[in-house]
Each structure stands twice: as C-alpha cells, then as structure tokens.
C-alpha cells in the first residue's frame, strides 16, 4: 500500500509541477492570515492587553504573539487545505470517476495523494513566502522546540484528515445534487469564524469559544497553530481534550462518508462516459 501511495503522490507532484502559475496563485491565495495579522497586531498595539498597553479593549495576545499565531495559521493552512470536492464533482459530472472505480483501489486514495502531491509542489514557494515575511518582520521570528514542531506537524496532518473527512461527506452529495460544492459553501462561514482564521479563539467571548470547541472547525486551524506556537504542549490537558474531540468527529464523519459513498455508488450513472 505504501508503494502505491508513494507512486501516486510522486505522479501527482509531477502533475502539479506542470501548472507552475497555479501553484504561485495557490500560495498567494493563502495570505489571508497575514492580512488578519496586520489588523490584530495594529489593534493590539493600542489595546489594554497588547504590547502598546493602551487603555482600549483587552487583547489575549501581545502583538508579537498575534504575528506568530497568524504565521502558524498560514503554515497550517498550507498543509491542511482541502479541495477534493471540486475534483470529485468534476469526476462525477464528466464520468471520469469510472476509471477510478475500475481500479482495485479505493478512489479516495487518488484524492488524498493529489493533495499530498500538491503540498509537496507548493512547499518551496511556501518556504519563500515564510522567509520573506520574517525578513520584513524580524520581531516575530522564533524557533519552536523540536517537540512543538513534531507534535505540530502531526496535528496538522490530523487536522488535514479531519477537514478531508468533512469535505468528503459533502462531496458524496454530488451523487444526488451534482453541485455539492454549493452545499459545501454552507460550511465556509462557520469555518471562517470558528476555526480561528479571523481571530484567535482566545479572543472569543467564553460562551462562543466553548461552543466553537465542540465543532470540528477550531481543530483544523487554531488547534495545530497553538501547538506550533507552543501554547499547547504535550503536558497540556487541552491537547488530549482536542484529540478526543477530533477523534469523535473523525469517526462520525468516516461513518457518514462511508454510508454516503455506498448509497451514492448505487446512483452513479457514469455520466458523460
């Protein structure tokens, strides 16, 4: 199985390299955390809890910590972005799924390795953006501990798996609606607000944060970012609580995804093929 995944990933990587312009655009399209960083760093400099120590509203982090948080969010997004629904939708509508179904391997792996290949292709550009940022903003530079890096990247891929499972369930709706990506867009708003993309969860009002922590969204972005930052460590109870929630969501989504896949296949007509 590992050989299959390696060859699929390497081939997908080669395919992604065929679209160089697309890779540049992908990386640039993920600069949203840097925009939010600008907003929060500026605001916290004049806030009560920020480095500015002014008399405004309270902020949970210092300006440098905000910068680091959003850099971590940028890193997490580079490795946990999922777009399989668009590919799957195209494959269903065009009947291209047929060729994956003819192979003695679950088509799911084709999509997983496509993402891994794309991450691999994007990696050098991601490093360049990161280096460019630290040159521009040296105060935010820091070196996470080896354990934070290891645990952080493990959690990033756990987050990737969770986000993939969530989108996979939406993608399966293509068997019924063909434009399932429109339905998936419904999850975009909660993702933007609850994942920590716009603001760290620490800045949420307590009840809102508690509700957010019951959804899968903080665990696909904020949670791994906090681990990379070193805010959550191996000895933090939050780490185990977080993994417990992820495990529950992941198991549930896998069950739903598998159910929809089996039911959906019965409806597949190989359109266009």
């Amino acid at each position: 199985m590992l050989k299959k995944l390696r060859i699929l990933t390497v081939t997908q990587h080669a395919l992604m390299l065929a679209y160089r312009a697309e890779i540049y655009l992908w990386v640039l399209a993920h600069v949203m955390p840097f925009l939010m960083m600008g907003v929060w760093v500026t605001a916290s400099r004049s806030g009560a809890g920020g480095a500015g120590g002014g008399g405004g509203m309270a902020f949970a982090l210092t300006p440098v910590d905000y910068a680091r948080y959003f850099v971590c969010v940028f890193i997490v997004r580079q490795f946990s972005t999922v777009w399989m629904i668009h590919e799957f939708e195209w494959h269903i509508v065009e009947g291209r799924l047929s060729y994956f179904l003819l192979r003695p391997m679950n088509p799911l792996w084709n999509y997983v390795t496509a993402h891994l290949g794309e991450q691999l292709a994007r990696f050098p550009f991601f490093i360049m953006v990161l280096a460019f940022f630290f040159i521009l903003y040296p105060q935010a530079r820091w070196m996470p501990s080896a354990s934070a890096i290891l645990l952080g990247f493990f959690t990033i891929y756990v987050a990737f798996a969770l986000r993939f499972a969530l989108q996979y369930c939406f993608a399966m709706l293509t068997f019924w609606f063909e434009r399932a990506s429109a339905i998936e867009q419904l999850s975009f708003l909660p993702y933007v607000f609850l994942s920590g993309l716009l603001a760290p969860l620490a800045d949420f009002p307590e009840p809102a944060r508690r509700i957010a922590e019951l959804t899968p969204f903080p665990y696909v972005l904020s949670f791994p970012a906090q681990i990379l930052m070193g805010q959550i460590t191996a000895s933090s109870p939050q780490l185990y609580q977080g993994f417990a929630v992820i495990a529950a969501w992941f198991a549930g989504l896998c069950l739903v995804g598998q159910f929809l896949w089996r039911r959906g296949l019965r409806r597949y007509s190989g359109q266009g093929a």
């Binding site: 050989k3 299959k4 699929l8 081939t11 080669a14 395919l15 047929s98 003695p104 019965r266 190989g270």
Partner: protein
C-alpha cells in the same frame, strides 16, 4: 463455461425533462418533472472464454450502459449478471483485476504527463513488480508499435497514438475480460487496422474474452464471429455474424451478363431489378426461390455469365439501424 452470464439484465434511469423557454425554465426550477428512461430492457446472453463478440446498435441503444453494468460501474435495475465468477457491482478487488473497460471517447491517461507515468501508477495499483511491469510495457508497446510516444506528454500524442496508449494502460494487468466501447473511434484507417490486429493478437495469446462495441463494421467483421444486436434497450439478435444475412436479408443478388441486349422488362419477372444495362443486370431474388429462379433465367434469357452474391453485411446492419425500428425478420428483408 460462460465467462459472462447475463439474465434479464435491465437498467432504468430517472431523468429530468423540461421544455425550452423562460417560462418553462422557471416552472422546471420550482416543479421539476422527471421521466423514466428504460436504457436497457431485460436482456440475456452468455459469452464463453476466449470469444470475441461484437455488440452492435445505434446511438442510445443501451450498449454502453450494458458494458458499464458488466464492468461494475453502475448498478442494474434488475436481473442477474456474472462476469468471471463475480457479481460486477460488488466491485471486489479480485473481479477488478480480471477485467478492463476501454472507452474510446474517454481517457484514463494523465493528460499533461507522459503515458509512462500512468503505466507506473497502474503497475503499482495492480501490484505488478517493476521488472515485470517493464517487460509487459515492452511487450505491449511492441505489439502496438509504440516507442518514443510513451515518454511524450499524452496531450502531444495523435489520437491514434493516444488510443494505443490507452489500450496499453488498460491491459497492463492482463485482464481476462475486455469490455471495449468504440476503441477505434475517430482513428484513421491505418490506426484502426493496427488496433484490430493488436486485439486479435491479445485474444489469441491470452485467450481473453472480448465484448466490443463499434460503429465501424470493419472492426466487427475483422474480429467477431458472433454479434449481439441491440436496439432501444432490447436484444434482437444473438448469433453468428454470417447469420445476420440469413435472418435479416433472406435474399441474394444475382448478377447477369448477356450475350445480346436484353430489355429491363424481360428481367423484371425474375425479381427486383436493381440495375439494368444493355448487356448486364443485377436482380434481387428471395433465397427460397433462388434455385428455381436461376433455372428460369438460364432457360429464358441469353445468359453468358451469372454470379450469385450475399448482400454486404455492413449495408444490412446499417439499414436495420437507420430504419429506426427493427421489425420482425420477415419485414426487415427485401422482396
């Protein structure tokens, strides 16, 4: 033992239907109407190991839907189907390793990469060891006269080269059962001939069972001894290719050469005159009356030479399908 066994296999689809126009589009948005399409009506047939069977029918007859059901891509609405000892729609790995489906209008090769990359993926997915994979690629490439094309991006290949690469990719795992849906679609005469030759060789070498659809009768006549004819989802002929002439065209063409000028009116009583020149004529005669009619012709006309031929099979099938309906054999025949 039958490799493909089909009993009352059927497939119905529900499709939305709407009339053109703004108002109808709005009505369709709020109140969607559906209709049932019986793509394949209950059909039964079986195919033995090593057979090459032509599956013929006009567009929309249900050929591709049947092939998809046999390949396990879509679920049948009814009936039973067994392929190589498996129920296709269960899509067991052992089944998928035994079959392949090639669609002339679709491609599995990765468009922007050389075909070799797609072969490597297939090799890994089908657990073919590297050395064995290289040997199989070399063997199939030689059979298909492919060489440098394998290292060029697929998008740079000609249609014929691409189809050969598709065949190569589809056969790397040496399937026992091949479902080929118009494998020569859009190819030039030479490429068609090369694909036919390859399929014949593959069938001979591996005793593969092949079910082939094609709109090119040359594919069918070159490869298939047996054909299945399907129209509007119903199978109406299953038998020898040669038997189509007997069943749907129970007439012969008699070519006459005369020693002197013969008027058309003198030839007309013997059958339907297709052509009448001064010293020659072509007459269509019903098969059961052939012997007596020829005897009469020889006795009553100044015949110098006489040739009896079957009508071309291509024209019989083309006529059956272009008529739009397939009637009982008797009414599908000429006088």
């Amino acid at each position: 033992m039958a490799v493909i066994d089909v009993r009352n296999l059927s497939k119905s689809f529900r499709v939305s239907a709407s009339d053109p126009g703004f108002r109808n589009a709005l009505c369709h948005f709020w109140n969607r109407k559906y209709r049932q399409v019986d793509a394949v009506k209950p059909l039964s047939f079986s195919i033995e190991a090593g057979e090459i069977v032509g599956f013929l029918g006009p567009n929309g007859a249900g050929k591709t839907t049947t092939l998809k059901m046999l390949a396990g891509l879509i679920h049948p609405s009814g009936g039973e189907v067994g392929v190589a000892g498996h129920v296709p729609f269960k899509r067991q790995k052992a089944f998928l390793r035994k079959i392949t489906l090639v669609m002339g209008n679709k491609q599995q090769l990765i468009w922007d990469l050389p075909a070799n990359e797609s072969f490597r993926i297939n090799g890994a997915i089908y657990d073919i060891p590297d050395a064995e994979l290289a040997a199989r690629i070399a063997e199939l490439a030689a059979m298909l006269s492919l060489d440098k094309q394998l290292s060029q991006p697929v998008r740079k290949l000609s249609l014929g080269e691409r189809m050969k690469c598709e065949l190569l990719a589809s056969l790397l795992h040496r399937p026992e059962v091949l479902f080929l849906d118009e494998p020569t679609l859009g190819l030039d005469v030479n490429a068609q001939s090369a694909v036919r030759h390859f399929l014949r060789e593959y069938n001979r070498k591996y005793n593969a069972t092949i079910l082939l659809t094609s709109h090119y009768m040359a594919d069918i006549t070159a490869l298939c001894k047996r054909v299945l004819l399907i129209h509007q989802g119903s199978l109406f002929y299953d038998g020898a290719l040669a038997g189509i002439v007997e069943k749907f065209a129970p007439y012969r063409e008699v070519k006459l050469e005369f020693t002197e000028t013969v008027d058309r009116m003198r030839v007309a009583p013997f059958g339907e005159v297709e052509e009448s020149l001064d010293r020659s004529a072509r007459v269509i005669v019903r098969r059961e009356a052939l012997t007596s009619t020829v005897e009469q012709m020889l006795a009553q006309l100044p015949v110098a030479d006489l040739t009896i031929t079957d009508p071309p099979i291509e024209s019989i099938i083309a006529e059956l399908f272009t008529q739009g309906t397939v009637n009982a054999p008797a009414s599908a025949t000429k006088p």
